[in-house]
C-alpha cells in the first residue's frame, strides 16, 4: 500500500523536525518538511502530496499565496492547519482530514 504523503510547512526548524518525526512514526505515512515558501512550492511541484499541513509561523500573506498556489495546481489537495506543535493533536488532525477526503 502506498504511503500517505504529507507536506508539512512551518518556520520553526526544531518544531518541524518533531512534526516530521511524529508523522514518520506511522509506517503508513511519509512526511516532508519545508521551512520556506520556496521549499514548499518546490516540494509540491516535485511530488504529489495527499495532504498539506500548515504549521506555525507562516505569515498571513505567505499562507494566502501558498494556498492559492496549491489549489490552483491541484484543486483537490487537502490543506489543514496543524495546532499545538507536537504529538498531542497531530494524529487526530490527520485522521480527521482523511475522513473528509477519498483516499
Amino acid at each position: 500500500m502506498e504511503k500517505l504523503k504529507i507536506l508539512a510547512i512551518g518556520r520553526h526548524p526544531e518544531i518541524m523536525q518533531t512534526v516530521i518525526r511524529l508523522i514518520n512514526n506511522n509506517p503508513e505515512w511519509n512526511g516532508t518538511a519545508a521551512i520556506t515558501d520556496k521549499e514548499a512550492v518546490q516540494a509540491f511541484d516535485h511530488e504529489v502530496f495527499d495532504l498539506v499541513m500548515l504549521c506555525s509561523g507562516i505569515e498571513p500573506e505567505s499562507e494566502e499565496n501558498l494556498r492559492a498556489y496549491f489549489t490552483a495546481h491541484r484543486p483537490a489537495v487537502k490543506i489543514i492547519q496543524h495546532y499545538g506543535g507536537g504529538s498531542g493533536l497531530l494524529i487526530a488532525e490527520i485522521y480527521e482530514a482523511l475522513k473528509e477526503q477519498p483516499h
Binding site: G10, R11, H12, E14, I15, T18, C55, S56, G57, I58, E59, Q81, Y83, G84, G85, G86, S87, G88, L89, I91, A92, Y95, E96, K99
Partner: protein, 239 residues
C-alpha cells in the same frame, strides 16, 4: 438536557505510560475518537498523574493556549524563554505557544505524585509571540462561590489567554447552589468538569471527573449534591 453533551469519566481515553497516567476527555496523542474532538475552542482536557521525579521532557508547542492547573503535588516548569518555576495546588499556569516554544513539566518531588489538569484552547490569533504566566490564587475565595481564574483580559481577575474564555473554580458544601451567568451568551458554551464529588447541573447529575458541555444557554444552575469541587470553562463555540 437539550444542547448539551455528557462525557462520563469512565468513557474517557486512557493512556498509562507508567510514569504518566493520563485520561483524555478529547482525542489526544494516540487516542482518537471522532465523537470527542473538542468543545468549541476547548481542544484538550487531560487529567494527568505523574510519578515522583518524572515528567514531560523538553518538547515543543505552537499556536495553542495551554493551561495547567495542579490538583495535588508540585510541578516544575522550564521553558525556552528562560522561565523556571514551580506551580502548586491553587496556582494556575498559562502558556501562549504562538510561533513556537519548548518546555518541560516535571514532578518537583521524588517521592510524591503530582496530579494536574492540562487544558488546550485554540487561540484567537495565530503566531503570537510566545508568553508564559502563572498566578497563585486564594483557595478560600472559591468556597461556596465561583472564583474566576482565567479570562481574555490582562486586567481582569485571574490569568489571561488569547481567547474569549473565562474559567471559574468552585468548592461547594453539600446542598449549596450557584448560578453562573455567561459573559458572552451569543458566542459561548460552558464545559463543566467535576474535580470531586457529585453535582447537578440544570437537572443533569454528574460525578467525579465527569464533564458536561452546554451551549445555547445564558446561565447554568449548579447544585452540590455532596461536597464538590468543579471547574467551569466558558468557551467560544466558534473560533
Amino acid at each position: 438536557m437539550a444542547n448539551s453533551i455528557l462525557h462520563k469519566a469512565e468513557n474517557r481515553g486512557h493512556a498509562n505510560h507508567g510514569w504518566l497516567d493520563s485520561y483524555h476527555t478529547f482525542s489526544f496523542g494516540s487516542y482518537y475518537n471522532p465523537q470527542a474532538m473538542n468543545f468549541g475552542a476547548l481542544r484538550v482536557l487531560n487529567d494527568d498523574t505523574v510519578s515522583g521525579g518524572m515528567g514531560f521532557g523538553r518538547h515543543p508547542h505552537d499556536n495553542m493556549e495551554i493551561i495547567s492547573i495542579p490538583l495535588e503535588g508540585d510541578l516544575e516548569h522550564q521553558d525556552s524563554m528562560g522561565n523556571k518555576a514551580i506551580i502548586r495546588k491553587g496556582d494556575i499556569q498559562a502558556m501562549s505557544a504562538g510561533t513556537g516554544i519548548y518546555h518541560s513539566e516535571k514532578n518537583a518531588h521524588e517521592n510524591e505524585r503530582v496530579k494536574f489538569l492540562q487544558i488546550w484552547i485554540y487561540p484567537n490569533q495565530k503566531n503570537v509571540e510566545p508568553r508564559y504566566d502563572q498566578l497563585t490564587l486564594n483557595l478560600a475565595d472559591r468556597h461556596n462561590r465561583l472564583q474566576q481564574v482565567l479570562s481574555p483580559n490582562a486586567d481582569d481577575e485571574g490569568i489571561w489567554i488569547y481567547q474569549n474564555a473565562w474559567f471559574h473554580m468552585g468548592k461547594f458544601d453539600q446542598g449549596k447552589s450557584v448560578t453562573y451567568n455567561l459573559k458572552d451568551t451569543a458566542q459561548s458554551g460552558v464545559y463543566t468538569f467535576v474535580l470531586s464529588g457529585d453535582v447537578t447541573i440544570d437537572g443533569q447529575k454528574l460525578g467525579t471527573r465527569d464533564g458536561l458541555g452546554s451551549w445555547d444557554i445564558s446561565s447554568l444552575e449548579i447544585t452540590a449534591d455532596t461536597e464538590a469541587e468543579f471547574l467551569l470553562m466558558e468557551i467560544p463555540m466558534t473560533f
